[in-house]
Structure formats: structure tokens, C-alpha cells
Symmetry: C2
Subunit: 571 residues, 2 copies
């Protein structure tokens, strides 16, 4: 492909309203153009990348035995009313009316439609399992679209839905999808983690998210440095290590702490470290009244975990200072577990502390040398906090690292949430009606493109993983319009590359070398051959990989073979 | 692919609400399923066909130098307001509001969006011509969706838009697209005609429709039996043949015609043929008053042509009988051109008649032996009727045939309709701002699938053209689950076919032979190999092409080669 016959629309300026690097680079490289808030056009260059991702996804879904179909984007309200989601779903569901004032929506997801198809077409367990998918533009009316295609209102998604006559079959397909997703992200050359996740509002019990690791990611992920363990930080478990608690070695004593309100104040006042302190939070109890949650001074409460504890009211409600003072004898900043008359739940890490500092339940005083059991006889231990770097991995292997990730895939075991509501049943081996079990499996196809850029870029632009590059090779002829030798060599190499099936972009624009170099680097094309009179005089061209710091000379006669070898190494 | 791992959902019954054969067969074969009025799911089998069509379209668009991009389906109202179409477009344009009550629509077409992109990205004639396309689901809120995917509310379309700094460049690209479209429909194995068309409401001057010929087509097409000439019947021209008019040979005379009201009455009463009569229609004149339109008795007025005549008011309005009687001296059924005092426009064919019969402008009387010039001195000749079979082709080559067609493609020279309204300009060679000229080029990708079935089917089901078949070959093993020999031979042939890249469906379902045969014929798979114990005992299998009336024996050892040769012949 010649750039004169393609559409290259790069910008030097960084767009003002683009907050993250992928958004900036996609605009600057001309991969996308904004049409309206959260609505984008994929320009020819960007679409080449998107199609490559789409193809890998399709190939691996097919290889995993899933069958592709295509459902309409416009969906009738009746099915959503049947599942109950017409009412439950917020304004992200774009509801529309046709010319006859009948209600429809633009599908953000297709559980209802696919369940309707399957209940009509499938009647016997013999026709199951069945895994159906589509790759389609979806619409979600985000309240605040941002980050370009990372959180757009219309986006390309692969959504798959599997159907089973029993849980064991669902679990089999779930594992197959887990492996297929891993293969997809591996083939795309991305550094990713499959992460245990809360299943959120779609329902069901077991789910994994697939995250591309990148500093700009919206989610924090904890993963082991020695095993496959990875979990959303909200879900990663901390371990009960109270068996490693040191013996109490000093006596309980009070120390005056005038003006101390926070753990930071306390550490500064007494010149101690936060991990030797505990903090006590007073929240509403499940049965009414209050309960005290105790965490190590350097740890944060995980609301989701706290709400799951049977003693704690859900949703979590912090006590007012008045309520706390009335129950504990002191206000915020001076409360501690010693001598409390309300129930106490200590986070595992807090419960593993000995000789610690805590509020004394009287104003402007703290205890030092406090110890569980010796000084506080009644308390429960629980996992109440989010994990932090260095925590032991819950699977017992290694310690946890924390990185940020961008969610690009999500797999769920839905169970019977939709099939129950929509009466989707099959006859089992014994001729009895059983409700179909379902799984669902999504990939944010367009989002993958942005996440790849977040993970792979430098100050000069995008660095595409080989499998996603819009072109594999850039040929940059210098002064092509003046030098017949350069033009001849470039045209010949271009023709040879096309013949070999190499995806090549020859920059035949009449632009200065600096402009061409900058553009090809901004576009992130992995391999580049520069053809100029100077090297050509010695029968050579210059090759440079996008991540290489320097160019190297290659004989013109060997250029095609050299490039072919580079591409083979990459694959 | 094994049918046990695929989703085959055929029906024996003809669906009650399906009016045309393609709709019935698509439902019976399980290619599509209805979700709601005008909304369909493409099941895995149907999607395979759709994707094949899509691929041919994409390959030929790419080969023609067009660049693919992807615009969002949801479009902001502002752009449609700018072009004026927000108000002009009827309720087919599905207008929606987002959560902030901002107006959007679901794109039935993308002229506004693409013009907006081009005016932002393109500034110089050097960047033109540019031809951009996408393949995307479109939404049109049809008042009466029918015929399955033939006239659906959501459908897959290829829409392309070209941009030019002058008319000559637009015409070049228009010709390139004309050829690309012809190649696409040839590759798909369809009997089609490119047809001159009125450009309708999209605007612009020159346009061609591409029609797949089929008896169920909604449009009538006239085409020459000896040349490429083809036109929508509304637009096909009739020729002025008054130079071939015979001499007047009999005198003008009146004959009584009691009770005669119609041409049929007249022919019956006088025992004459309709082509020897003329009929006279009284319509409103452009300047007020009335004008008489004269046609041969066996011809029909073409309203569109009449409205283009300068003497005739547009839109056409027929005179009331009272108006006609007052102007002509007699009511409907007795009016004729002889002695009329209002202006007369004679259709070319009527004007080529001699010694004809016509109303005498007095009740219950007709003239016989009427002749132009001799008896009617003042009249104009014009093309006022639709062509009929046997008319000379307007290009002077051969005579016209009339067939029905299904419109599957449409190309337009839009000119500056959108670029003018939206201020899309470039600098020309002389540094002056010129308004961009545009073309647009659509293909109804999903509609092609239905039209192929309308053209290719028999009483047993679909007969796919090779390029569109979901599978090229069906292997039908008989009693596979009981006969080890059959299973072994079928599995081996299946594996060989896959290795050769043949798209094969092996029907390994535990069904009776009759069920399998009927299904494979209904699905329209072009080639079939039946493997059963009886022929296998003689080392043979049975091959039958979908259009063959009988099967033929082929040696099992030669089966793969035989099938490969059949496929090669087809391509």
C-alpha cells in the first residue's frame, strides 16, 4: 500500500481534551475521529488494527467450538420486561420507540435475545452444550463517556453465551473459554492477567476478568509473584496469620495524646510506625446497634468485605460521632478495642499484632502495649481490608504484587438467572424438564486497541505488538521524487513485499524525511526500512525495529530476506 | 464441520406469514429467525452465507481502491440539521434521545457523517479522489417490514462515498464502482442487470441500480436482447417512430358506439385491435387550463414522464369528468384528438398510428380512419408511456425485454448536494476554494442473500451459487452409528476435505437417510457425497450435484479428487 493511496491524517498537537495516552495517540495518529460525545469513527488506519483484533478473537472462538451468529442491535422491550431488566437497568440502557410507539432498546448486551432464541430452537439435552457468539457494535449510554474508545457509548464487543443441561457442562465450557481468552490475549502480544472478580450486576456466581496491565488502568489487581493467582483488589483475600502473632512482651499502659485525631497524628506524636497501631471504626450492626471494626493503622477498610460479615449491616453505614461517643465513651480518634462493650471484629492483620497502640476510649489518651486475648477477651477475626503489596498470596505461593489493569474481557457463570426468568428448559436424559444453565463471555474488542497502546508506547508514539500492527513494515524512501535510484529500489522492494504477503506501507508522499520518520513512529509500525541515496550508493538500506535505539545497515539485495526473518522472529 | 457440532434447525412446515419463497426457505432452512417485526437473527448457517457475500464485497471494494472505515450507527442530529434532512426525512429515520435529552438518530445512511469527516480531514485537491466505505448494520424504521430480510428494519449494508475536486474525477470513480459492482455480482454467481435509474430522493443526477433478476422482484426492468441497455421501466425511453407512420389510406368517418366507455368496449363493439385505437386523457396543464394526452389504446400512461413534459402540471392531476366534458364536448370514453380546442400531446407510439379509431368528442360516437396532420393539425409528440416487451431498444440495438428485478445495489453521482450544504471545500490547483463533488454507492449485503434464493431454488429448497454456499460439500453417511465401514469411510473423507480446505458439512446426526437428504437439499449445499453400506461394498460412494437429477457412482478412492474437480469447474 502506498501512503499516497491511503489516508494518513496525523497531528503534531496533543488534543486538549484527551486525558490518557491511548486517546491522545489514537487521535494524533489518526486512528479515530470523534463524532460526538462517546461516538467515534474508526478511520481506515484504526480499522485495520481493530479488524486484526477481531480476527484473532473470531479464530479462537471458532477453535473453541463456539458458533457465530448475528443478532440485531435493536431489541424489543418485551424480552427485557420478561427478564426484569427493563426496570432494573439504569439510563445506560438506551430506550427508544419506533414509529408505532412500541418500546425497544439498543442492545448493550444480548442475554434476553439469545435466551429467547435458544428456548425456541433447543428442546433436548442432546443439543447441548451450545456456545453462540457475535461480534457487534454495542451501545451503552454512559453518563460520562471519556478516554476515547476506552469508555465510549458505541463500541465493538464480542459477546458469547453458552447453554448447558447441567452445572458440570457449564464449568467445562467456562474452562474452555478461560483458555481461549488467554490464547487470544497471548496471540495479541499483551501482558495480561485473568483475575477472579466479583460478578457484579449481571448475576451468577463465578467470574473472571481479563486485564491488560497498564499504569493508567481503572482497576487495581493483586497477583502472586510465584503463581497464577490474580484477583481484583476488592476480592483478593487476606490470610489469617494470627498463629504468627508474637507473644505479648510489655504491659498495657496509657499515654496522653493531646490533639491526636488520626493515625498519622499518633505516629508523629509518639514517633512510632503505623503498623504498630490499630484503628477502630464504628459501624451499624446487622441486628441493630453498633459494631467495632479494627484494622491495622496502615490498612484500609474494604467495604465489600465488611458488608459480607454477618455482624455488619449491609449496606455499610458508619456511626455518627455522637453514636460512637455514646457507645464507646470517647469520640473518633480515641476509640480502641480495649474495654469496649460492643462487638468487635478484628481484621486478620490487626489480630496478628502484639504490643500495639490504640485509642483508650477516653479523650486525648491512647493505650500502648495492647494485646489481643490478654487485654481484649471477646472479638472475632475476619478479612476486612484490601490486600496491599507484600501480603502473602492467598494460594500460599509467593507474595502479592499490585498493578493497575484495564478490563478487556469478562467471563461469567450465569447459572439460571435468565433461563429461569424466561422459562428456557430442555428435556434431560430422563425426559424431565430442566432449566438450562448459562454462561456468558465478553471481550471489549475496540477497548483492546486502546489498552494495547496504554501498554506499548513511548514518547514518539505507538509501539504495536506485531499481531495488531496496521502494517508490518514501513518503507521510507528519501527524496523519492527526485532520485530515480531511490524510487526504483523502493518500488522493487514494495512489490516484492506485496508478493510475499507482507503488509507494507510505502511512504511515497512528497514530504521531508523528518516528517515521514515522525509519522511512521507515531503510527507504531514495527519494522522500518529507509532507502536513501547515501546508503544506496553502497548497495545498502537502513533497517530499524520500532523498539530499536539505532538503525542498522542491510544490503539492499538482502533486505527482503532480512525483513522476513524479523517478522518470523516476532510471530 | 460435523452437523452434531453445528446448529441445524430446519423446519418442514412452511411458515404461515412468509409471503415470498426466499423468506419461506430462509426460515425453513434455519438461516434466520424473527426477533420482532423487521428484526432478524442470522443463525450460524445464515451468517456463513452473509459473511461470504460480505467478503466478496470487501475484496472488490479494496481492489477498486476504496478504503474501509467504520462510522458509528448512532449519529448526532446536528449534522442532519445542517444538511436539511433532519426535517425532510420521514419516520423511516429512527430518531432517539440520549440520557441528556440530546437528539440522535440511527443511521439509515451516512452522507452527513462522512462529509463532516472529509471536511475536517481533507483540505487540498491533492488528497482527492478519496473513496471511503463501510459494511455495517443500518436501521430504517419501515412502515411495513415484510418479506423477511428483503425489507427489514435492521439490515447489513455496504455504503461507500467518494470525494472529488471536479466532475471528471467523480465520473471516473463512478465508472470504477460500476465495474466493481458488476464484478461483485458476477463473482456471486447472480443473473443481474445494471439499470439506469431515477435517482430518487437522495439527490444528484446520474444513477444506476443493480438488479438481481427474479420473478418476485418489486421492480420491472426493461433491457435490450442485443446490447447492455437496461433501465428501470419508469425511466426506459420509447423512441419517436413517426417517420415509420403509414400513409393515411381511408377517409375520416364517424361510427356510432352506444354504451362504449373503454378501449376494451370499443374493440369488442367494432371487432378491432387496441393498437389501432388511441385513448385521450385530459389532465391539468402547467399554465392552468387543461391539456390532452393521447396514447395508443394498448399503452399505459407513465406518470413520471408526463410530469416532465413542459405543458403538463406536476404533480399530475387528471381532469374531473365535468372539466373534461366542458372542454371537449363529451365525457370520458368519447374524447379524441380530432377537433379538440385544447393543447394535445401525443405519445410517440400514438403519433405513429395511421387510420386509427378515437373518440369523436360527442357522446356515443367514435371516429374511424383518423390520421395525424390530415385530421389533427396541432399537436406535440412526446414520450409519455412505459415501455412494453418488443419495443425497440432506445440505444438502437435489438428489442426490449421486461423482467422483474430485486434492487441489490445503487450508485449515484451526488454532485455537491451535501458538500454545498455542509460547506465541504478544498483548495484547487490555483489555490481557490472549490466545493467537493461526491458520489455514493450502496449494496444491500443481507438483501443479496434473499435475492440469490429468489433466483436459485426448486421445490426441494435452496440452490446456492457456489460462492455463497454455507458449505461447499455435504457428506451424508447412512447408518453411520451402526456401520463401522460407513463411519470409517465418512470420517476419512471428512478429514481429507478439511485438509484440502474444502468447506464440508458431515451430517453425523443419528437421523433417517430421508431426513438427512431433505435437510441437505433444503440447505442448498451444492455438492453431496452419500456413503452407505451398499455402494461401499463395491468400493464406491454416490455423488450428486444439487442441480443434478440423478446421483452417480464414484470410487471411494477417487471421491476427494472427484469433488475437487467439481469445485474447480464451479469457480
Amino acid at each position: 500500500m502506498r501512503s499516497s493511496e491511503f489516508l494518513i491524517t496525523t497531528h503534531k498537537e496533543t488534543p486538549a481534551d484527551a486525558e490518557i495516552i491511548s486517546h491522545r495517540l489514537m487521535l494524533r495518529a489518526g486512528l479515530i475521529r470523534k463524532l460526538s460525545s462517546g461516538l467515534y469513527t474508526w478511520m481506515p488506519l484504526g480499522l485495520k488494527v481493530l479488524r486484526k483484533v477481531e480476527r484473532v478473537v473470531r479464530e479462537e472462538m471458532d477453535a473453541a467450538g463456539a458458533l457465530e451468529l448475528a443478532m440485531s442491535m435493536v431489541q424489543p422491550a418485551e424480552l427485557w420486561q420478561e427478564s426484569g431488566r427493563w426496570e432494573q437497568y439504569g439510563p445506560e440502557l438506551l430506550r427508544i420507540q419506533d414509529r408505532h410507539n412500541r418500546d425497544f432498546c439498543l442492545g448493550p448486551t444480548h442475554e434476553e435475545v439469545i435466551t429467547d432464541i435458544v428456548r425456541n430452537e433447543i428442546s433436548s439435552y442432546k443439543q447441548l452444550p451450545l456456545n453462540l457468539y457475535q461480534i457487534q457494535n454495542k451501545v451503552r449510554d454512559e453518563i460520562r463517556p471519556r478516554f476515547g474508545i476506552m469508555r465510549a457509548r458505541e463500541f465493538l464487543m464480542k459477546d458469547a453465551y453458552s447453554f448447558h443441561s447441567d452445572q458440570a457442562s457449564l464449568e467445562d465450557t467456562y474452562q474452555i473459554m478461560h483458555r481461549a481468552y488467554s490464547t487470544i490475549f497471548e496471540r495479541l502480544g499483551l501482558d495480561f492477567r485473568p483475575v477472579m472478580a466479583d460478578s457484579g450486576s449481571i448475576g451468577g456466581n463465578t467470574s473472571h476478568e481479563f486485564h491488560v496491565l497498564a499504569d493508567s488502568g481503572e482497576d487495581a489487581i493483586a497477583f502472586s509473584d510465584s503463581s497464577d493467582y490474580a484477583a481484583n483488589i476488592e476480592r483478593a483475600e487476606t490470610l489469617d496469620q494470627s498463629d504468627q502473632r508474637p507473644q505479648a512482651s510489655i504491659a498495657l499502659g496509657k499515654t496522653p495524646t493531646p490533639g491526636v485525631k488520626t493515625i498519622a497524628d499518633l505516629c508523629a506524636a509518639l514517633n512510632i510506625q503505623a503498623q504498630h497501631t490499630v484503628k477502630t471504626l464504628i459501624v451499624e450492626a446487622a441486628e441493630g446497634g453498633l459494631v467495632a471494626l479494627v484494622l491495622r493503622g496502615d490498612h484500609e477498610l474494604n467495604t465489600i468485605k465488611a458488608e459480607k460479615h454477618p455482624l455488619v449491616a449491609s449496606p455499610l453505614r458508619m456511626a455518627t460521632e455522637e453514636e460512637a461517643t455514646s457507645a464507646c465513651g470517647a469520640g473518633f480518634g480515641s476509640i480502641g478495642p480495649v474495654g469496649l462493650s460492643i462487638a468487635i471484629v478484628a481484621d486478620y492483620a490487626a489480630a496478628a499484632c502484639a504490643d500495639f497502640y490504640c485509642g483508650a476510649n477516653s479523650p486525648e489518651e491512647h493505650y500502648e502495649g495492647a494485646n489481643w486475648d490478654r487485654d481484649i477477651s471477646s472479638y472475632e477475626r475476619a478479612d476486612l481490608r484490601s490486600v496491599v503489596t507484600g501480603d502473602p498470596s492467598p494460594d500460599g505461593q509467593g507474595t502479592l504484587q499490585i498493578r493497575r489493569g484495564i478490563e478487556v474481557g469478562h467471563i461469567f457463570q450465569l447459572g439460571t438467572k435468565y433461563s429461569e426468568a424466561m422459562n428456557a428448559k430442555v428435556l434431560d436424559e430422563n425426559g424431565r424438564n430442566v432449566t438450562i444453565s448459562m454462561g456468558c463471555y465478553g471481550i471489549g474488542v475496540s477497548r483492546i486497541v486502546a489498552s494495547a497502546i496504554e501498554q506499548n508506547h513511548d514518547e514518539r508514539g505507538i509501539i504495536w505488538p506485531g499481531a495488531m500492527a496496521p502494517f508490518q513494515l514501513a518503507i521510507v524512501p528519501l527524496n523519492m521524487h527526485k532520485s530515480a535510484a531511490v524510487a526504483e529500489a523502493a518500488e522493487a522492494l514494495h512489490a516484492q513485499c506485496l508478493e510475499q504477503g507482507i503488509e507494507v506501507l510505502m511512504d511515497d508522499r512528497n514530504e521531508r524525511p523528518g516528517v515521514k520518520f515522525a509519522d511512521m513512529e507515531l503510527l507504531g509500525i514495527p519494522h522500518r526500512v529507509v532507502i536513501g541515496d547515501r546508503s544506496l550508493a553502497e548497495g545498502e538500506v537502513e533497517y530499524q525495529g520500532r523498539r530499536d535505539s539505532e538503525a542498522q545497515r542491510v544490503a539492499l539485495a538482502d533486505a527482503l530476506n532480512f525483513v522476513t526473518r524479523q517478522l518470523a522472529q516476532e510471530a
